[in-house]
Symmetry: C2
Subunit: 200 residues, 2 copies
Amino acid sequence: MKNLTVRQSEILTFISDVISNEGMPPTRKEIALKFGFKSANSAEEHLKALDKKGYIDLHGGTSRGISLNKPFLGIPIVGSVAAGSPLLAVENVEERIEFNGNIFSDSVDYFLRVKGDSMNEVGIVEGDLIAINKRKDVKPGDIVVARINDDVTVKTLFHLDKRKVILRPENKNYKDIEINPAVENFDIEGKCLGVLRNYN
Amino acid sequence: MKNLTVRQSEILTFISDVISNEGMPPTRKEIALKFGFKSANSAEEHLKALDKKGYIDLHGGTSRGISLNKPFLGIPIVGSVAAGSPLLAVENVEERIEFNGNIFSDSVDYFLRVKGDSMNEVGIVEGDLIAINKRKDVKPGDIVVARINDDVTVKTLFHLDKRKVILRPENKNYKDIEINPAVENFDIEGKCLGVLRNYN
DNA sequence: TTTTTTACTGTATAAATAAACAGTATGAAA
DNA sequence: TTTCATACTGTTTATTTATACAGTAAAAAA
């Protein structure tokens, strides 16, 4: 996929926002207005660039005839995470799902497919998709995605300070995980906003 | 809410379909084409009727300026079910959520808010929303919504024939429910397609 | 029975919109 | 150094689109 310029990226985001908020894509004039272009043709040329690079499809002769290109739409589902790679690296994204936001309490950056039974007692089971919001500021009680020495795990955060982190599995067959972030490589990847499970 | 005529309902459905499939609302001409109207004005008048009845909002002077009215959109969430009332009766619908379909394996007719812990061992816990598809043809192994003598319950279907139905709670503290549909009032309301849980 | 609503055809037009063409200017790539 | 891509302004035009007005006809409501 070809890279977008900053401006092109802004315009792509704007189109996506307008579709979400207004229920229809913007016109060239509306794009020009938003970015302060004095000519609608500026918008036209950005659209052509986005089309050429494959991010949108332009439907000739149609008002508001802009559609976002599916493969780059939707929320990524992160499956198995290769050790050491960023969660959202392309090789970890198993697919994307169309999803419009108003369901969870915050915006969903990605879904993570759950492995294992360590969170069974709070109703998170193998194969579930958990909705994740990328953030570092989590508090005890939150279910978090954490990275410990290149290993990604989902647990309830029980305690967090500079010298000690305690992650609690929600299954009595497992023990608490205690980490010294000064010694071990530890990072909070995000907060779990909810669960999505699809039978069959 | 005022009732729609058959034609108006067809047109509302078409608008909704076009938005889903094309990513933008149709023009008057496109509506006329779809229904075989020889004049775009026929579409215009139907739109005005739908606007007047509150089902859509028309944005004057804007191409494709049709938006569906939120309160009638989205998938209903059924909360507590009043004894004897149809599940989808207005008094049982606690709210609606925007939701676009491609997530579950079949279309979601409504979400049911889970009460109690009888399905805990398969990860369905109190407060969860379960996605339901209205259908009668369910098979053993399916998680179903059933009505037993005006009581609505969610269980795994274990056995089903004309003389005996066995519903199985997924929690060892509960016993199987055995029903004789010839004697008791029993009905399958739908099949559970999946689970949606929102923390906080 | 009269009025209103529904459901259309047919015509017309102002405004919205897409999109081409002609420029200017800058920075990056070949 | 020349070409190409980016990022604009400014103008123009054909087409799309919304939408009003004038009718016809049937069914429903008052």
